[in-house]
Point group: C2
Chain length 423, copies 2
């Protein structure tokens, strides 16, 4: 008998009908002879409604209390889901993150899981129950306070439980059919990927693909837990994410896994930086001290006549204001002429382990962009990824051009997209 | 420095404005030099909305999951209240029933508190925080499952915490100004009671007064915790409930505390019962086995000619169907002619410790009813209470007549009643 962890996002349990539909799917997995652990998010818009309430009583809600508030959402959905399952004649018990043994650090609103001690879950499963666990939440190791894991937290809960329970698979049910070779809203001919390696999935997630978050994939890779991303609406086979293709799926690793894009970043250019040791370090120390994560970094070739250079980097638009403030404050110490801020950029990334052994990939990528008339502003590469920054307006056309150039286009329009995303 | 426990019902925290108003009141108590523990119910209609959801997914929601669901309501209100207090510049921390050490038995939906271990609350108070505790909920001693305390549970939480923390007073904030000599919706000239003994309050609660539940008063009496019932809207002094009048309040015990009424009961008459030992026992064993609580019991004088008698008793209307079924099932064993069910009855009770030493009270009570043309169907008495059953239609008139006859009428129409009741 296998152990399966299933995770359902907020859009899958948005109302009573959704909860009943999900309950049937869970019972099916149980009837197939599995022990089943289910991780569930808050219903539909519950979390947003709670955030609204918080903003009405306090402009800056405190972390500890904010977490206490938000975790009410999963408490509702998990209890209702357990009731719905019992109503189908199967035994189910719901558990809070704390009861399920999800131990975190004390960083409220974005805590990290540091241990999982699922004794009560194991006990409940051994009694023949289906165990329902609140996603997105845990309890802090030192203070025993309720914490939340931040965006995408429920996926991480599911993978962490799967690892602690040595599950055969962690099934992430969502509102799309799986991971696609590109965003189907942009590329109509995007294909569902049957299997993708952890490494390629990590690069896609880091490059703007929203189906799985980087952190969740990282966790799954560390503990080698296969993830199966699939739709809670269609019931079709989705995308397997694992170190090796699973079972009889003799899938050959594709040269290119997919094309990701991201228009959530902005670009800051520090103009007229003296070209001498320590200058770049001073700039990025100022940014790091403001607790801002940056993405791409490019330094121009220094102009010999002036001894000055420009340094550009990208970062989330939401951090733009903070970064400019931090740099302006350190201006005297660093010594630069001016700052340029540009939030009309987009990033297109080509991801695939095959590019390591296929030297023509970079050239083909740039040719495809050039043929589409797209100008490249920055370039950054890893072993299995090439990313470029372009004008934001050029992104859809660029993604389609690259997708076609690498032979990723599907013959049919098979992509089905449903509204909303879970957390 | 004193320790005060305050409890706010759902109508006091129905929306963001209510939460902010309550937060100000709490901060005032803190500024007055007290350590403050606040017990809070779910916001307004939250609990009803959650019950609706449960009914949509399952016609018979399981106890454990139902409790898990309902406790989400207090989690929301307490977190918001803590945020609102912090926004006023004071430190506050919220605690679930489990975190606050409210230990209960395992009877879901109507658990009883068996211990309170408020270590974390004490610690939080000692750090200068205001502690906010979820009412109505606890954790079961044996299974560590979330439980709820049933109707009026938040009041019980407040009194239990006050006892465990050795508080000076437990303030129950509600939407009326205190306990009245009669229901102000029925008797316009009802007066607010300044002080009432635990014993009289227990009788009033058992007789239909809804301001405090019997269970909460019982708990307060056992641990001798003074309760101050007052309005969260007006800020006026309310009603003190304690063993002796508090401080400089040299209130003389009134002969009569008040008149309560109750139209939630029905009457069952078992007709033609053989007048021999064991018959009454057999009837009430059948009722008890069906887990039905009964209130008044009267046995008619046996008619010598037939050797048969009638036995009448009252019980909550909601249990009527179940009681009839239980009796019909035991009909052969008990041996009676027929059953009469009557749910158009009302109960009027006069409560006051003074009646022990004032022999005329019973006579005056019956005279007042007679003068008002009210027919008496059943009578039951305790040392400090007389109750009669009448037609339901007669109740308002009967209550007013008795209230006037015992000199309880106020000179002014001071009663102020606000909508809704907390849980």
């Amino acid at each position: 008998m296998g152990l399966v962890v299933q995770k359902y996002g907020g859009s899958s349990v948005a109302d009573a009908e959704g909860i009943k539909r999900v309950a049937k799917r869970i019972v099916e997995a149980k009837k197939n002879g599995n022990q089943v652990v289910v991780v569930v998010s808050a219903m539909g818009d519950t979390t947003d409604e709670l955030i609204d309430l918080a903003e009405q009583v306090s402009p800056m809600p405190a972390g500890r209390e904010f977490d206490m508030l938000l975790t009410a959402g999963e408490r509702i959905s998990m209890a209702l889901l357990a009731m719905a399952i019992k109503n189908l004649g199967h035994e189910a018990q719901s558990f809070t993150g704390s009861q399920a043994g999800v131990i975190t650090d004390s960083v409220h609103n974005k805590a990290r899981i540091i241990d999982v001690t699922p004794g009560r879950i194991r006990e409940s499963l051994d009694k023949g129950n289906i165990a329902i666990v609140a996603g997105f939440q845990g309890v802090s190791q030192d203070k025993k306070d309720i914490t939340t894991l931040g965006r995408g937290g429920s996926d991480t809960t599911a993978v962490a439980l799967a690892a602690a329970l040595d599950a055969e698979v962690c099934e992430i049910y969502t509102d799309v059919d799986g991971v696609f070779t590109a965003d189907p809203r942009v590329v109509k001919k995007a294909k569902k990927i049957d299997w993708i390696s952890f490494e390629d999935m990590l690069e896609l997630a880091a490059s703007g693909s929203k189906v799985l978050l980087h952190r969740c994939v990282e966790y799954a890779r560390r503990y080698n837990i296969p993830i199966h991303v699939r739709s809670s609406f269609s019931g079709l086979q989705g995308t397997w994410v694992s170190s090796e293709p699973i079972g009889d799926k003799q899938v050959e690793q594709a040269i290119i896994s997919g094309v990701a894009h991201d228009t959530s970043e902005a670009k800051i250019t520090v103009v007229g930086v003296p070209d001498k040791p320590g200058e770049a370090a001073a700039i990025f120390r100022a940014i790091a001290d403001a607790e801002i994560n940056i993405d791409m970094v490019v330094q121009n070739v220094s102009a010999a006549s002036t001894g000055l250079t420009d340094i550009s980097f990208t970062l989330p638009k939401t951090e733009g204001r903070k970064a400019i403030d931090a740099l302006e404050k350190s201006r005297a110490g660093i010594g630069f002429d001016s700052l340029r801020y540009d939030d009309q950029i987009g990033k297109i990334s080509l991801v695939g382990a095959g590019m390591k052994t296929n030297p023509g990939v970079t050239a083909s990528f740039f040719e495809a962009l050039s043929d589409a008339g797209v100008n490249i502003e920055l370039i950054s590469t890893s072993e299995i990824r090439i990313s470029v920054v372009t004008r934001a307006d050029d992104v859809p056309e660029a993604v389609r051009a690259v997708h076609t150039a690498f032979g990723l286009d599907s013959d049919s329009d098979e992509a089905v997209v449903y509204g909303g995303t879970g957390r």
